[in-house]
């Protein structure tokens, strides 16, 4: 969405135009959903609806550029994820068969989708929650260090430090997996398990 397009879409969305909301949703929903999944949200689709609902309620008060809008949108998403994590801490966790009961489709599709998400987030498994957040906001949401720091409520230097440690942790993981693949270490490891 170009900048001049964004201004027109924003004005129409403020007026409640359906086409404008469809365009905003088509542009941002996938990345926001990916951020929610990457942060470990249990119900990413439900949270995505909450994010856009909050966006619609407060859009009349927004006045800014596309980058500011994107930063604001991911800030709402960040807050929703934090809220969900807190709720899950307070309340006992539902059994896995009761989570996402509204998923439609066959069991095979559900399994494939779950496998895809698991692969997507497997790379982030060794990272702390803050390191994950920094990487997702910087790469997936394409936010600057300052915007990321503002969303996380931290200083820019702290975000830099988190990013530094996250990238080094990923590097270390890649190096380890590469060395295991090339030297047969992975085979050795699995044979040891046998």
């Amino acid at each position: 969405m170009q900048l001049h397009e964004f201004e027109g879409v924003l004005s129409a969305a403020k007026a409640g135009s359906e086409w404008a909301w469809s365009q905003l949703y088509a542009t941002y929903s996938a990345r926001v959903r990916g951020y929610l999944i990457g942060r470990g949200a249990h119900d990413p689709d439900g949270l995505l609806g909450d994010v856009f609902l909050q966006l619609a309620r407060n859009l009349a008060t927004f006045d800014g550029s596309e980058a500011e809008f994107r930063s604001w949108l991911f800030m709402i998403a960040h807050h929703r994820v934090v809220d969900e994590h807190r709720r899950r801490k307070r309340r006992p966790e539902l059994p896995s068969d009761q989570v996402d009961t509204d998923i439609t489709g066959s069991a095979e599709e559900s399994a494939l989708a779950a496998d895809s998400l698991q692969r997507a987030t497997a790379m982030l498994d060794g990272l702390t929650d803050d390191q994950r957040t920094v990487l997702l906001l910087r790469i997936l949401a394409d936010l600057s260090l300052e915007e990321t720091a503002q969303i996380m409520g931290r200083k820019v230097n702290a975000v830099k430090q988190l990013q530094h440690r996250a990238i080094n942790a990923l590097r270390s993981n890649v190096a380890t997996s590469n060395s295991m693949t090339t030297s047969g270490g992975y085979t050795t490891t699995t044979s040891e398990l046998d």
């Binding site: 007026a15 990413p44 856009f52 309620r57 407060n58 990487l135 790469i139 990013q163 990238i167 080094n168």
Partner: protein, 290 residues
């Protein structure tokens, strides 16, 4: 990726890869980890794969629900009006109030408020206990503390205490004093010779005690003539049962000018003659009971 960046799909992923390479390139490898360009390439590819898999839109049905809900919410929350000077001022005060509330919620502020409150309570308590507060305040504090059983000086009470001390002594009716209390005559008070008056008892003006010293028959006759309307009970005069103070001369008039004669009403013998103090006829009536 968004906004000013191209929206074409292939270009979008290139832009994402650019972003990944930029971010990875900002980070130096940690000590002990050998840096290789291929390693960063692998890392970049891995991150790009992750982003691609995460960047999946929800189902169309769910998306339609979300859009409908957003359109409905936007319709109920109309476009904000253009900011006027008034809204700007409101924003100005809102910002100040936000700062004040954030300061007020700080722990240091709470400690300071607590210290000030404790100091005020301590100094106010000491002042109230000493009766040094202004009279209206002392009145309120004394009343309030009385309810919980703490006695602090009352502003009016404190000044009246000294006044009523004397008044109480002066107005104490005779019967309250034991009869064997040595009577003291106030200096300068005129009494009949040989007649002791209890302290604080004033002799009514115009009371002539001399006739009381007369013979009983004469006294009875005078009482009947002067106070013919007296209907008070004559028989229960305390002078009947009260023991005589030792060493006092037993004269008929003694009981007239002693407690019974002051007309305070405290004496049962004169209760019917209240206000008739100094009435010699009344006293004669009392004597007639004797």
């Amino acid at each position: 990726m968004f906004g000013s960046r191209p929206t074409d799909d292939s270009l979008k992923w290139e832009a994402t890869l650019d972003a990944i390479q930029r971010i990875v390139g900002e980070t130096r490898p940690v000590d002990g980890l050998k840096w290789e360009a291929s390693l960063d390439d692998d890392l970049g590819q891995g991150l790009l794969t992750m982003v691609r898999e995460l960047d999946t839109p929800p189902d169309a049905a769910i998306g339609s629900e979300h859009i409908a809900a957003a359109v409905g919410a936007a319709a109920t929350h109309p476009v904000a009006v253009t900011r006027t000077r008034r809204t700007r001022i409101r924003g100005f005060w809102a910002r100040r109030m936000a700062v004040v509330s954030s300061v007020a919620s700080g722990a240091l502020f709470k400690v300071a408020v607590g210290a000030v409150a404790m100091t005020t309570a301590a100094t106010g308590g000491v002042a109230a206990a000493n009766g040094d507060l202004p009279a209206p305040v002392q009145e309120i504090v004394a009343d309030g503390l009385d309810l919980i059983g703490i006695d602090v000086p009352h502003p009016i009470q404190s000044s009246a205490d000294t006044d009523t001390t004397v008044t109480t002594v002066d107005d104490t009716p005779g019967p309250a004093l034991p009869d064997n209390t040595p009577a003291v005559t106030a200096p300068g008070r005129e009494t009949a010779p040989g007649l002791d008056i209890a302290p604080g008892l004033e002799q009514a003006p115009g009371l002539d005690t001399a006739p009381a010293h007369g013979p009983p028959a004469e006294d009875e006759q005078r009482g009947n003539s002067d106070n013919s309307g007296n209907t008070g009970p004559p028989a229960d005069s305390p002078s009947e049962t009260r023991p005589e103070p030792p060493g006092q001369p037993e004269t008929p008039g003694k009981s007239d000018s002693a407690p019974n004669g002051d007309g305070s009403g405290g004496d049962g013998g004169n209760s019917g003659n209240s206000g008739n103090s100094g009435n010699s006829g009344n006293s004669g009536k009392g004597n007639s009971g004797n």
